[in-house]
Point group: C2
Chain length 173, copies 2
């Protein structure tokens, strides 16, 4: 089954980015075009079923998957970026990390009111980034139709921050 | 013609990231799935013609285009990232910016020896990032078959740093 092959390709890297953390490395998946395509297959079923009109691609690994989904389904991509990267007028959303805060931004003209948006990222961890992204989409007057991740770290309970959203992640740890 | 439509979609944002700079904003192009697809069409002709076996996707906007090319042509993607982002064993390359330096990294197991690689990014400016990326590809024992950019800022003479490489950019300023 596709999901088993995708899971098998994800590499555990211990002690990254800091001691005690086991990092889930998706680069072996990206390197294998068949596995990458199977991942996109799985996402596209969700996007199609949700009548999505735009993708919100989360900086930076989310860009890889959103680019491929856009190509397959002919849906435009909106980059959700770290503060200071988007050149035009932005909305910004600050959110808490384990230590400190981070800020995400979206162009104010990114979405039309009423659009249905799929948020695309590689990993659901604590849910802070996804939650901030959803709030940016909603600030633009659009609706979050689904949230797509390759991997969910269920022990961090990211879904706890995402109640009411349609969260999808094929590979769960 | 496709290139004219792509060019027309690129937005000039004055004084970003600093006073006096006119930033070329590709987000209107990404938002329009037909223009995004036409851009991928143009890239795919180059990639196909060069018998490319892998894409080297430059952090972060290069990821959007490389994801789409991978999906279309069934070629694996290797992320070339800023220092500290890749979890596994890396090769690193430091290079000069206008002020200061930057460092790019690639996983040591990213490419097989002899692979033919297309470097994918949105913008060719001074050529420093592209040059460092090419050197990382070559350190892995692979060959740079082509360098693909949406936009070339010809007045910065990035090609001067990229002599001997097959540089392609449909939109030139």
């Amino acid at each position: 089954m596709s999901v088993d092959r995708i899971r098998a390709a994800i590499r555990d890297v211990p002690d990254f980015p800091e001691p005690g953390i086991i990092f889930k490395d998706i680069t072996p998946l990206l390197k294998d075009p068949s596995l990458f395509r199977e991942t996109i297959d799985i996402f596209c079923e969700q996007v199609d079923a949700s009548n999505v009109t735009k993708l919100a691609a989360v900086d930076a690994r989310g860009f890889l998957f959103a680019g491929a989904i856009s190509e397959r389904l002919h849906v435009g991509v909106i980059p959700i970026r770290k503060q200071g990267k988007l050149p035009y007028l932005t909305y910004e959303k600050r959110y808490d990390l384990e230590y400190g805060t981070a800020t995400l931004a979206v162009h104010q003209d990114a979405f039309e009111a009423g659009e249905r948006v799929a948020i695309v990222d590689d990993l659901l961890a604590t849910g802070g980034t996804a939650r901030a992204t959803a709030e940016l989409v909603e600030t633009c007057g659009a609706t979050v139709a689904s949230m797509l991740f390759v991997i969910e770290l269920a022990f961090l309970n990211g879904r706890g921050k995402l109640a009411g959203y349609n969260v999808f992640a094929p590979v769960v740890y």
